[in-house]
C-alpha cells in the first residue's frame, strides 16, 4: 500500500501543471480556475462545456482555456480532474516529476503555479508601457529597471511629481525636498492628483519652476519622444489602413476626424468663410482701427475703459497680464505655453464686432464688472424671442430629488 502511494503521483491539473492533494480539490480548482465563464461566472465542468456555454448563452467564442499554460490552452480536449489527460502528457509529467524529486517536490510546485503571480510586482514598475510612457524620456529615466539597486539618486525629473506613489520604486525617497515643502503648505494629498496641492499657495516664484514641466511646455517639448509624427496642417498624408484581411473599418481613408472631413463640404464650409474672412481682415487692421470698431459698438464708458486698457497694454502689457492672471489664479505660471491674450488685443476686436449686440460686457479684463443683465433665476418674465412660443424657462434651482418613481 504505502509503496504504491509513493509511486503514484499526486493529482495534477493539466491546464496549469499544479499538483493537488486530492482529485476532489483538483476538480474544484479546475471548475474555479479554468472552467468558469468570465461573463456570468457560472462554473462548467469541462473545457468544451465552457466553450458551448459561452457560445450558446453569450454568443461568444472562447478559444483558450482561461488561466492555462501557453501550450495547454486547448479548449476542445475534454478533461475532468485527471480524466482525459493525453497519455503523452501524463507520461511526460511523471517523468518530470521523478526528475525533480531529486530536488524538492515543493520546489517544482512553486515553480509551476505562482509564476504568474511573481511577475506582478515587476509589472507595476517596469511592465506598464501604457502607463509609463506617458512622459516618455522623463519617466523612463526615472524608473530604475527592476534589477537595479533601490534608492538610486533621482534625477531632477523627480520634481515632476505628478505620478502616483505607486510608480515610485520602493526604495526611493518619497519626495524631493522642495516638493515636500509644497506639500506642507497645501493640505492633504488627493488620491487622484497628488500634485495638485501647490495651487493654493500664492508664492508664484516657488512653484513656477516646478510647474514648468507640467504646464504645456512639456507638451511642446514632448512630441519628439512620441512616435506619431504630428501631421503638419498643410499635408495630411496620414491614412488609416481601413481594409484588413478579414475586416474593413468603415471610415474614410484619411486619418482626420469625420467632422473635419464633413466641415470641408461646400454645404458646410460656405457658412464658415464668411466669418473667418471677416475675422481675418479685421485682425489685420491696426490697433487704432480696432479701437474704432469698439467705439462704434459699445457704450462710451466701456470704450474709454477699453482705450485705457489698450494704452496700458502697449506700455505695460506684461504687468497687466500678470495682474489679470494673479487675480484669477493665485499662481502665475511662467513659461511660454500659457498665452494670455492681451486686453483689447487683436483676438478680441473682431470678435467683439461680430457679437450679438448686448449690454456692455467686460472690457479691459477684470477691471470692471457690468451689472447683471439677465434677471436672476427664479424671477423670470416671458423671455423675448422664444421660438416655439414657450412661456418661460424654468431656472429655479431646485435640489429636491428627481421624481424617480413616476419616471419608471
Amino acid at each position: 500500500m504505502g509503496r504504491k502511494k509513493k509511486k503514484m503521483s499526486k493529482p495534477w491539473c493539466w491546464y496549469c501543471n499544479r499538483e493537488f492533494e486530492d482529485e476532489k480539490i483538483l476538480i474544484q480548482h479546475q471548475k474555479a480556475k479554468h472552467f468558469k465563464c468570465h461573463i456570468c461566472h457560472k462554473k462548467l465542468y469541462t473545457g468544451p462545456g465552457l466553450s458551448i456555454h459561452c457560445m450558446q448563452v453569450h454568443k461568444e467564442t472562447i478559444d483558450k482555456v482561461p488561466n492555462s499554460l501557453p501550450n495547454r490552452t486547448n479548449i476542445e480536449i475534454e478533461i475532468y480532474g485527471m480524466e482525459g489527460i493525453p497519455a503523452a502528457d501524463l507520461r511526460e509529467h511523471e517523468r518530470q516529476r521523478l526528475g525533480s524529486v531529486s530536488g524538492t517536490i515543493s520546489g517544482s510546485d512553486d515553480e509551476d503555479e505562482p509564476a504568474s503571480k511573481r511577475v506582478k510586482p515587476e509589472g507595476l514598475l517596469g511592465n506598464a508601457p501604457g502607463v509609463m510612457s506617458g512622459m516618455p524620456g522623463v519617466m523612463q529615466g526615472m524608473i530604475p529597471p527592476p534589477g537595479m539597486p533601490p534608492g538610486l539618486p533621482m534625477g531632477p525629473m523627480m520634481s515632476m511629481g505628478p505620478m502616483g506613489p505607486q510608480f515610485m520604486h520602493p526604495g526611493m525617497p518619497m519626495m524631493p525636498p522642495h516638493m515636500a515643502m509644497m506639500q506642507g503648505q497645501g493640505g492633504p494629498a488627493k488620491p487622484l492628483f497628488p500634485s495638485a496641492i501647490p495651487c493654493s499657495s500664492p508664492g508664484a516664484s516657488i512653484v513656477g519652476a516646478d510647474f514648468k514641466p507640467i504646464s504645456s511646455a512639456a507638451t511642446i517639448s514632448a512630441p519628439p519622444t512620441t512616435n506619431t509624427p504630428s501631421s503638419s496642417d498643410g499635408a495630411k498624408v496620414n491614412t488609416i489602413a481601413t481594409t484588413g484581411a478579414t475586416s474593413k473599418i468603415i471610415h474614410p481613408a484619411e486619418d482626420i476626424s469625420l467632422e473635419e472631413i464633413k466641415s470641408r463640404q461646400p454645404k458646410y464650409a460656405k457658412t464658415i468663410p464668411t466669418k473667418s474672412d471677416e475675422t481675418a481682415s479685421s485682425s489685420s487692421t491696426t490697433a487704432s482701427d480696432m479701437e474704432h470698431v469698439y467705439m462704434q459698438n459699445y457704450l462710451a464708458n466701456a470704450v474709454s475703459a477699453a482705450q485705457q486698457a489698450a494704452v496700458q497694454q502697449a506700455k505695460q502689457a506684461e504687468a497687466i497680464n500678470h495682474a489679470a492672471m494673479m487675480q484669477r489664479f493665485p499662481v502665475r505660471v511662467s513659461g511660454p505655453p500659457i498665452t494670455m491674450a492681451l486686453p483689447g488685443g487683436p483676438v478680441m476686436a473682431p470678435m467683439r464686432h461680430t457679437m450679438i449686440p448686448g449690454p456692455p460686457t467686460l472690457i479691459g479684463g477684470h477691471l470692471m464688472r457690468p451689472p447683471p443683465i439677465s434677471m436672476p433665476p427664479g424671477m423670470i418674465g416671458v423671455p423675448p424671442g422664444m421660438v416655439y412660443g414657450a412661456h418661460m424657462f424654468p431656472a429655479a434651482p431646485v435640489l429636491t430629488p428627481m421624481m424617480q418613481p413616476r419616471f419608471r
Binding site: K275, P343, S374, P384, A390, R406
Partner: protein
C-alpha cells in the same frame, strides 16, 4: 411609466418601425441635419431639458416630460455647424461651439446669446468647469489649443497648447481629459488652476473619437473610456493600481460571418451612467450598447438603426438615455442623404444599466 406602450404610442405612429427599432420615444421636431451634440440639463433644474446641436447651425432645446413627451422650447442659431454643446452648472445657460470658431453662451432666461470664446479654427469641444475657486468654459479646438474662458471677459483666462488638434474631451472636476489627433491623450487637473497632469500614449491604434471620464466607488473621477474609429474602447485608469486594470474591448462591429468579412465601425460617443457607473457606447453601425466595465460584460446591445448614432447622453438622474440617429460621414459624402430624417430617441434606461453582479 416612461417606457409603457400606452404612452409609447406617442410619436411612433408616423415613424416607420425600421427607423425606431427599439420603440423608444421620439423627440419632436428634430434637427434638420446631423446631430453633433446632445446634453441634458444638470440636476439643479427640477425638469429635464435636452439640448442638441446640429450641422444645420442650430441649437434646439426641448423639455422632456415624465411621460416621455418632448416639448420644443426654443432654438438659437450659430454662425456655422455646431460641434458641441454643454450646460452651466446652475442650468441657466447653455454653451455652444462649432465651426464658426466661436463659443457662445445662451442665457435661457433672457434668451440672449453672447459670444464667450474665440479660436483660430473650429471649436470641437466645450465643457463647463465648476471649481471651488473659479468657473469657466473649456474649449478645445482644431487650432491645437485648449482655452479656458471666464465668460465675462473677451480674453481667455488660460490657453494651453495641445500637441495636435483636439478631437474629444471630457470634464469631471477636478479632472479633464483631451484626446487629440495623432492618438494622444492628455490628462489635466483642474483644481486651483488647470494644469497638465499627464501625457499618455494611446492604448488604441486608431484615431481617437470620443472620451468620457468615469468615477470610482467614492464618486471621484479616476479614469476614462476612450473610443476610436476602429470599433474599440479602452478603459484607462489615470493611476492604475494594477496594470491589468486597463483594458480595451471591441464593439460596434458587424458579425459578418458568412462572408468572413467584418465591418468595423467608429465608436461615436461614450457616456457613463450617473448612478450605476456603467456605460453606453454608440457607433457608426447605428447601434448602442450598454456595458459594465467592472464586470467586463455587455449588458445590452440594441438593434441597428437606419443611420449611425452620432451622440448619446444620460439625464442627470440616469433615468433617460438619449441617442441621436443621423449621418456621421463615416462613408463619405456619397452616402449622405439629406432627405433622410434625423432622430433623437429617448429610452427609459435605469434598470437596463444596472450592473448584474450587484443583485
Amino acid at each position: 411609466m416612461f417606457n409603457q406602450s400606452t404612452i409609447g404610442g406617442f410619436g411612433n405612429a408616423t415613424t416607420p418601425s425600421t427607423a425606431n427599432p427599439m420603440k423608444d420615444f421620439e423627440v419632436t421636431q428634430p434637427p434638420d441635419d446631423s446631430i453633433s451634440s446632445l446634453a441634458f440639463s444638470p440636476a439643479t433644474l427640477s425638469q429635464n431639458f435636452l439640448i442638441a446641436g446640429s450641422w444645420d447651425n442650430n441649437v434646439r432645446c426641448w423639455e422632456i416630460e415624465q411621460s416621455g413627451k418632448s416639448v420644443p422650447k426654443s432654438m438659437q442659431a450659430c454662425g456655422g455647424p455646431v460641434l458641441d454643446v454643454c450646460w452651466s452648472d446652475d442650468g441657466t445657460k447653455v454653451f455652444m461651439a462649432g465651426c464658426d470658431k466661436q463659443a457662445k453662451a445662451w442665457d435661457l432666461a433672457s434668451n440672449q446669446v453672447v459670444q464667450v470664446a474665440q479660436h483660430d479654427a473650429p471649436i470641437k469641444t466645450c465643457h463647463w468647469i465648476k471649481a471651488s475657486n473659479y468657473s469657466c468654459l473649456m474649449t478645445g479646438s482644431w487650432d491645437k489649443t485648449l482655452k479656458f474662458w471666464d465668460t465675462r471677459t473677451p480674453n481667455p483666462m488660460l490657453s494651453i497648447n495641445l500637441p495636435e488638434r483636439c478631437y474629444c474631451a471630457d470634464v469631471d472636476y477636478p479632472m479633464a481629459v483631451v484626446g487629440t489627433a495623432g492618438r494622444q491623450i492628455i490628462v489635466y487637473q483642474l483644481d486651483g488652476k488647470p494644469q497638465q497632469y499627464k501625457v499618455l500614449d494611446s492604448p488604441l491604434k486608431y484615431q481617437h473619437r470620443c472620451v468620457a471620464i468615469f468615477r470610482d466607488k467614492k464618486k471621484t473621477p479616476t479614469g476614462y473610456a476612450l473610443g476610436s474609429v476602429e470599433g474599440r474602447v479602452a478603459i484607462q485608469y489615470v493611476n492604475p493600481t494594477n496594470p491589468k486594470d486597463n483594458f480595451t474591448f471591441k464593439c460596434h462591429r458587424s458579425n459578418g460571418a458568412p462572408t468572413g468579412y467584418q465591418d468595423i465601425y467608429a465608436v461615436n460617443d461614450i457616456a457613463f451612467h450617473p448612478v450605476h457607473g456603467t456605460l453606453a457606447t454608440v457607433g457608426s453601425d447605428g447601434s448602442f450598447s450598454f456595458w459594465d466595465k467592472d464586470a467586463r460584460t455587455k449588458l445590452k446591445s440594441s438593434e441597428l438603426m437606419e443611420q449611425p448614432i452620432t451622440r448619446c447622453a444620460f439625464n442627470s438622474n440616469g433615468q433617460i438615455f438619449a441617442y441621436a440617429v443621423s449621418y456621421d460621414w463615416s462613408k463619405g459624402h456619397e452616402y449622405y442623404n439629406s432627405s433622410k430624417k434625423n432622430y433623437i430617441f429617448l429610452r427609459s434606461c435605469y434598470d437596463e444599466l444596472k450592473p448584474r453582479t450587484s443583485s
